[in-house]
Amino acid sequence: MDLLWIVLWIMLACSFIYLWLIIRGPSIWDRLLGKNLIATKIIVMILIFASINDSAFLLDFAIIYTLSGFIGIIFIALFLAERKKRRNP
């Protein structure tokens, strides 16, 4: 078990902890925060996996995932802000 494999498993454990928070999270905002953190963890896992296999093309996946994932979260947050306003003006 090389160091990078151990780190990969630790990152996976962290993301499962955050997943449990998403389920338990008192408010929807905690869930959004959990998604953001899991996204970062996934990116780090992709990078570690690319470093293990020494395959540079995996990094492009990480870049694209970063951009699309974060843009998604931004619009979810904006939508949630608008939804609360529309419900009780």
């Binding site: 008192p26 905002w29 690319a50 979260i73």
Partner: protein, 103 residues
């Protein structure tokens, strides 16, 4: 195990420790706003040191260049998203009354 590998391993271990701090900090605070402040900041630092450690392991190469690009993108986007989430939470009136501080 040349010098670069050793330095890289040290950075990777430090990054993992910071990430674990982020998880610990996450459960330490019950208030949403403190939680988002702590976890996103510590998470960004943990990710930064870990990816720098990875870049050290690969020395000067195309791989490390891409890693640096990913670091830049992440360092720009991570605070941005945290700010937007916290701001829209605050604007939509998400008051969180702090639990009585256990002494």
């Amino acid at each position: 195990m040349n010098v670069f590998e050793i330095i890289g391993n040290i950075f990777i271990i430090a990054g993992v420790i910071f990430t674990l701090f982020g998880v610990a900090g996450f459960f330490r605070f019950q208030n949403f706003y403190i939680r988002i402040l702590v976890s996103s900041k510590v998470d960004a630092v943990g990710m930064l040191t870990l990816v720098v450690g990875l870049a050290f392991r690969h020395g000067i190469s195309f791989f490390s260049g891409k890693l640096m690009l990913i670091i830049v993108v992440l360092l720009i986007l991570n605070p941005l998203v945290s700010h937007i989430v916290a701001r829209s939470a605050y604007l939509s009136g998400h008051e969180v009354n702090d639990p009585p501080e256990q002494s």
